[in-house]
């Protein structure tokens, strides 16, 4: 008997007019290892929730067709922060067992077996808030496999992790996939590392059901070009930026012996770092988690007050600049676009900066309209920024930074979690800014982005230039 059988299955979320999934026919046999692919918004996560039995029509969602799951399911999500329930690692693994009314005497042996199975490196007493992202994700996986699911669903389990954490969790998934006692359905953006772990690739389209299905090599040989165009990550090199157009010009930003310590922390997050950013160049800031990448970016952008040293923009102290002048010197793009949204409509979001910087409302509106056109957001002008998709939010956050025409752009993990299409668009935008005589600097873990775009790299380790 197959583990999963879907016939004409569809799901529409409450309050939406479009179907997230429709007309889906899919059979997954016991022990199969399936990679689920599709462009942003194709309903991959929705399908996993459906398989896990977590879509509930009582909330107003609508369901059609047939979906039979003959397995005990377990699901691992992307964000490790919102999967852990308890303060101690062991308690967290025990949580699901308590819910299933497993007798107390059986709980701890099963907790320890699950922790051992994922190679959790600490005792069960370990505080969960002291774990790194990769360790948290390992723990979340332990909490799921303690319940002995026969169908394991993984929804981009490495997307929120730094490269080391991601490699760590991928190795664990490889271990779990090696024994065929579980059926595995995996959603993952970065393909090179996960393709060896699966036997089958299934591609779905927004509201369109399965569009490609088969062995990985066959699917990519047949459909690779079309999939890449639709935004699906396919094996091979990522989009690269056009070659640099001009030469470098004058210095836009300078960091001198810059140091910063977060309130209440005994250690300097950043110490004695010098840097210089010139017109016409793209500079990557790299380093492991906690090396001070984001801190350096925030200091250069005048958003944090240096503990020691100085960050200047065009010769002026960056921290001393009032916000309305700061935005004409530097545009900042945060890792989470939602942090920087301040208006109720996409259009207003783009006029805020120019208005603050002293433009008339007519000028601001004209500027916003041209930006919306350029970033393919015009059809969303009236929408609430919080309701946009991940890729749209990313484009909008870059647009807000560009709206005040600053010479310098500072971005934190700009490509994080983006599909191939948004990635390519982002690169073109940033390259255009650079070639127009601006400077771009970005803190990132993304090695492809560094290789494909950066003219120079500032590498940090433990808060110092490495």
């Amino acid at each position: 008997m197959p583990a999963v059988e879907a016939r004409g299955f569809g799901w529409r979320h409450a309050g939406r007019s479009a179907w997230a999934i429709r007309g889906l026919d899919l059979v997954v046999e016991q022990g199969e290892r399936v990679l689920l692919l599709g462009p942003s918004g194709a309903g991959k996560s929705t399908l996993l929730l459906a398989l896990a039995g977590l879509l509930d029509t009582s909330g107003g969602g609508e369901r059609e067709g047939e979906l039979v799951v003959r397995a005990e399911t377990g699901i691992v999500f992307q964000d490790p922060e919102t999967q852990l329930v308890m303060g101690r690692a062991g308690d967290d693994v025990a949580f699901g067992l308590e819910n299933r009314c497993v007798p107390t005497a059986e709980i701890w042996p099963r907790v320890h077996a699950a922790l051992a199975a994922v190679g959790f490196p600490y005792p069960g007493e370990r505080r969960t808030d002291a774990l790194s992202g990769g360790e948290k994700q390992r723990l979340a996986i332990a909490g799921v496999i303690a319940l002995a699911p026969s169908l394991l669903l993984l929804d981009e389990p490495t997307a929120s992790l730094d490269p080391d954490g991601a490699a760590d969790v991928r190795a664990l998934i490889a271990d779990l996939a090696a024994s065929r006692e579980r059926t595995l359905v995996l959603v993952e953006h970065r393909l090179a590392e996960v393709l060896p772990l699966v036997d089958r690739v299934v591609v779905i389209e927004p509201g369109g059901g399965v569009v490609a299905d088969g062995a990985p090599a066959d699917v990519f040989a047949r459909e690779g070009a079309r999939l890449a165009e639709r935004g699906v990550w396919v094996p091979g090199p990522p989009p690269a930026a056009p070659e640099r157009g001009g030469a470098t010009g004058r210095t836009l930003a300078r960091a001198e012996a810059l140091a910063f310590r977060y309130p209440g922390s005994p250690v300097w997050a950043l110490d004695a770092v010098d840097a210089e950013l010139r017109e016409g160049e793209a500079v990557a800031i790299t380093g492991a988690n906690g090396s001070g990448k984001s801190t350096l970016a925030l200091l250069i952008a005048g958003l944090l007050r240096p503990g020691r040293g100085k960050a200047s923009l065009d010769g002026d102290d960056a921290w001393a600049l009032p916000a309305r002048r700061l935005v004409t010197r530097v545009g900042s793009v945060f890792q989470d676009p939602e942090h920087q949204f301040v208006a109720g409509r996409v259009l207003d979001e783009l006029t805020v900066g120019p208005r603050r910087a002293g433009r008339s409302s007519g000028e601001a509106r004209a500027l916003a309209a041209s930006l919306l056109e350029r970033l393919r957001l015009a059809h969303l002008a009236e929408a609430n920024p919080f309701t946009l998709s991940g890729g749209e939010q990313r484009r909008l956050s870059v647009a807000t930074a560009l709206a005040t025409a600053p010479p310098l752009l500072v971005l934190d993990e700009p490509t994080f979690g983006q599909d191939r299409r948004t990635y390519g668009e982002l690169l073109r935008l940033l390259a255009a800014h650079r070639d127009g005589g601006g400077a771009v600097t970005f803190a990132t873990h993304d090695r492809d982005l560094v290789a494909g775009f950066a003219d120079r790299t500032i590498t940090l380790a433990g808060g110092r230039a490495a």
Binding site: G87, T104, D129, V144
Partner: protein, 252 residues
């Protein structure tokens, strides 16, 4: 917002192994003793007793001190006010009122800080028959609080990046507050929804009952701890009565 970040005690400290319900009982007893009277003797003895318990709590004294600064300032203000304008203005009365406030607050802070939320949730379910769905749900939400503190800081930085000062002056803060609070609310709802989904996926709330991974009996040591608190309260009250300094809040 930094006040949302919990104080973390050393788990190996003597107070760490005391049953949470015993700690709550002990704190209530000393609070009651302080509540019933406004005099220097009772307040001083109880406060000395609580201060003696602080090293056993495993809390970092400096972190605790920082947390108590606003409290101490407030209490001192109220003390000075009562010294000057109280119903019977005197330095002694002012000091008694201030000490009493510090004592009540300090016992509360030490109690809250040394009780592990998970232990408390288990105790409430096991001994007080609290509904697990509610208690464990609240426990999970509690874990998100430190994240909100970070999120709040980030929302402030992001506002400056958009041309809106959010942290420079009091007026900036006030003006930026509604939008920033809305941003935090949106982030909180998104996180809470994801967490609820992850909990559902692990069977939370699918049955009326759940078992407990660490059921915990109330031991003799727990009763002794409660007894020590009762003794402290009784000793302070008796000393004050014997010295004739006792000034009950409600005269019978």
């Amino acid at each position: 917002m930094r006040l949302l970040v919990p104080l973390v005690p050393d788990p190996a400290a003597p107070l760490g192994s005391v049953h949470p319900l015993a700690k709550i009982g002990a704190a209530l007893v000393v609070m009651l003793a302080l509540f019933l009277t406004v005099d220097l003797v009772t307040s001083s003895i109880v406060l000395a007793g609580i201060a003696a318990a602080v090293p056993l709590s495993g809390l970092d004294p400096r972190a605790l001190g920082r947390r108590l600064v606003p409290l101490a300032v407030g209490a001192a203000g109220i003390g000075v006010f009562n010294t000057l304008f109280g119903t019977s203005p005197s330095v002694q009365n002012g000091a008694a009122i201030a000490l009493r406030l510090v004592g009540i607050a300090l016992s509360g802070v030490v109690m809250v800080a040394t009780i592990d939320p998970t232990d408390l949730a288990d105790a409430l379910v096991q001994h007080l028959r609290a509904p697990p769905r509610f208690v464990v749900g609240a426990l999970a939400a509690f874990r998100l609080f430190p994240l909100f503190s970070r999120e709040w800081d980030m929302l402030g930085l992001a506002r400056r990046a958009r041309g809106i000062e959010a942290d420079r002056t009091f007026v900036d803060r006030l003006a930026a507050f509604p939008g920033r609070a809305l941003g935090l609310l949106v982030a909180a709802i998104r996180r809470a929804t994801r967490l609820a989904l992850a909990m559902d996926a692990r069977g939370f709330g699918s049955r009326d009952r759940r078992t407990l991974a660490r059921p915990r009996a109330i031991t003799r040591a727990d009763w002794s701890f409660l007894a020590a608190a009762i003794l402290l309260a009784a000793l302070a009250t008796a000393t004050s009565l014997a010295l004739g300094t006792y000034r009950p809040l409600i005269a019978f």
